[in-house]
């Protein structure tokens, strides 16, 4: 049977993030955590392949203990087995250390196809997928908008800015999913109950993985964040509140001043 591994990340729903107008700082309280949208698309694509061809879908997430929630959600959508890679030793990882940790976790389970989201909405790096493929020494196809199986190969619609390539690769390989790849299904109510009452999320800690200490966590991260700050907005200009004709006159005057007209 085909073995598909999907990597998902729990992320704060950044669409809900607001700035405190007085302090200019982020209001993070009460922001819901969700499955990263591209990852959810990856999971749905895997579940569709399972529906069509039969497959075992294994979902792996790396993160803090509360990432249990997103793995339960994956189970409620139809995933077969889930693993949470969690340990203080993995903390502070950049994409290099994250991908090396995840690659080590993935290598513990059988896989033909690995699907990850293209990027996470909190970091937007799009790095972890291709880096996992490099660590595992398998081909990767990024930016997928469609996936089909063809015997022991996959055929993928690989998107670029102004075109797409239809590409074919033998499995095992790794694909990164665009949100457009697959519209995620809803969980079923019974699936939700089973996810908590019948199924398990297996926890993997530091000692469960065969990965060198210099390749994980903060120590295994080549990059360091040295400063983070909220963005300063450009200074406010002139704002007028006039009737329609006066507004247009004002704009024309300014456009002429600036030699646009």
């Amino acid at each position: 049977m085909l073995n598909i591994v999907v990597c998902i990340k729990q992320v704060p729903d950044t669409n809900e993030v607001k700035l405190n107008p007085e302090t200019g700082t982020l209001i993070r309280d009460g922001i819901p955590n969700i499955i990263n949208p591209d990852d959810k698309s990856a999971l749905e694509a895997a579940l569709q392949l399972k529906d069509k061809h039969g497959a075992k879908v294994t979902v792996i997430s790396m993160g803090p203990a509360q990432a249990d929630d997103v793995l339960r959600e994956a189970l409620a959508m139809g995933a077969d087995e889930t693993f949470l890679v969690t340990d203080r030793a993995f903390g502070g990882a950049d994409t290099w250390a994250t991908s090396s940790t995840l690659a080590s976790a993935i290598s513990k389970v059988p896989y033909d196809l690995i699907i990850t989201g293209r990027q996470a909405i909190d970091g937007d790096t799009a790095q972890v997928g291709p880096q996992i493929a490099e660590h595992l020494g398998i081909p990767n196809i990024s930016y997928a908008e469609a996936i089909e199986l063809d015997g022991d190969s996959v055929i993928v619609k690989r998107m670029y800015e102004d075109r797409y390539h239809m590409v074919k690769a033998k499995m095992p390989c790794l694909i990164t999913a665009l949100a457009e790849l697959a519209e995620p299904r809803y969980m079923t109510p019974g699936g939700v109950f089973d996810a908590y009452r019948e199924k398990e999320v297996t926890i993997w800690g530091r000692d469960d993985l065969d990965v060198a200490t210099e390749n994980i966590g903060l120590k295994g991260s080549p990059t360091r964040v040295v400063k983070s700050f909220t963005k300063e907005l450009k200074g406010k200009g002139t704002v007028v509140n006039l009737d329609t004709q006066e507004s247009v006159d004002f704009l024309i005057e300014k456009l002429q001043e600036k030699f646009v007209l």
């Binding site: 409620a76 299904r185 969980m187 109510p189 019974g190 939700v192 109950f193």
Partner: protein, 379 residues
């Protein structure tokens, strides 16, 4: 005692909110305006296992508990009371009777497709002369060999015309009054079974409510549920479950109105400040919030009682009474905060007020709930 929802119920709530927001809310105004039944939403409910949440998996259900279904009806009712009542009626009365009193054969034939959502269910007890006085049934079922011959009609039947399966009470022995009433499963299309015209209603305008008529309708004896003469007690037992469903609907309507109002009073400005800055607004919101929370606790308590207790008539009746009265009060008071805009169909608050009214009437009026409650406490 812990008043927080379990992890699984919290996740269900999130699921239902997401579903209601994306699939149900966008249609709500249109269903009301055009008095249109949401066929497409039922397809989606079916596809996502939401037609039989609290029933066993072996009969096509999802294997969850009553609270799981109450949360669903509540979330749907927040955005569309029409869709909520269709679901509440479908998932409460008929399947609970089939599960408790049906034979294995009847369960396979009717319960499983109902729970999978392949069939829609309706429940028919009310008649022109048997409303709150439900024992005064006049529809007759006369035995004729392997069949019963039904004659009579039932009024105000929710889902009528859309349902595939109707659970109908009819008199098999007139001399025994309530002990002479039996329950039958009637299928759409049976000879002598017709649906009357759709009623024009004040609220829940998208749901289908009709009279159903039996003229020498020939029903196989295998379609009788439980023993002859047990129909009335079977129905009364199910009404407790039905009341919890309607209580959840009423709760949802009140919460939906609350959400709309909070948003409105922050946006709408009078005298140079938002309505939310006025104490009248603040106090109204506060008082209604307290009632909504109280209704919520009563409704959830009733759902747990259904799963954990043999008898839960009191819990069901208090929940139904308080939630429906709250829905009416909340929507009326909030419409007042909206002022003239509230009376216009541009905002959903007037629809919510119209929808709330029926919750005080059907599945036992508020007065009936008071009878149930008082008879229990004075026992």
């Amino acid at each position: 005692m812990d008043f927080t929802l379990s992890k699984e119920h919290q996740m269900l709530q999130k699921l239902y909110q997401d579903f209601a927001e994306r699939e149900v809310k966008p249609l709500a105004a249109e269903l009301d305006e055009e008095e249109r039944f949401p066929d497409e939403t039922l397809v989606k409910l079916r596809q996502n296992g939401m037609m039989g949440v609290s029933y066993p998996k072996e009969y096509g259900g999802q294997g969850c508990d009553m609270l799981a279904n109450v949360l669903l009806i509540e979330e749907i009712a927040k955005v569309c009371a029409t869709t909520a009542v269709i679901l509440a009626v479908h998932s409460s009365l008929v399947p609970s009777i089939l599960l408790k009193h049906g034979s294995e054969e009847q369960k396979q034939k009717y319960l499983t497709p109902l729970m999978k959502g392949d069939y829609l269910g309706a429940f028919a007890i009310t008649e022109a002369n048997a409303g709150t006085d439900a024992a005064a049934q006049q529809t007759k079922a006369d035995r004729d060999g392997d069949y019963y011959i039904l004659n009579g009609s039932k009024l105000f039947i929710t889902n009528a015309g859309k349902a595939d399966v109707y659970l109908v009470l009819a008199v098999t022995d007139k001399t025994k009054r309530s002990r002479g009433i039996s329950a039958f499963v009637i299928e759409k299309g049976m000879e002598g079974f017709t649906i009357g015209p759709k009623e024009k209603k004040m609220g829940l305008r998208g749901s289908s409510t009709c009279e159903i008529i039996f003229e020498n309708c020939k029903v196989p004896k295998e379609n009788r549920i439980g023993a002859e003469g047990k129909g009335y007690s079977i129905a009364l037992g199910a009404l407790d479950i039905g009341r919890i469903g309607i209580a959840a609907q009423a709760l949802g309507i009140a919460e939906g109105a609350f959400d709309e109002t909070v948003q409105y009073v922050k946006e709408r400005k009078q005298f140079g400040k938002p309505l939310a800055a006025f104490q009248n607004t603040q106090f109204t919101l506060a008082a209604m919030k307290a009632k909504i929370d109280a209704a919520k606790l009563l409704v959830y308590r009733a759902a747990l009682a259904k799963d954990n207790q043999k008898v839960f008539s009191l819990e069901a009746a208090t929940a139904k009474l308080f939630a429906s009265e709250t829905a009416m009060e909340v929507t009326t008071q909030f419409l007042q905060l909206f002022g003239g805009y509230g009376y216009m169909r541009d905002y959903p608050i007037e629809r919510m007020m119209r929808d709330a009214k029926i919750t005080q009437i059907y599945e036992g009026t508020s007065e009936v709930q008071k009878m149930v409650i008082s008879s229990t406490v004075l026992k």
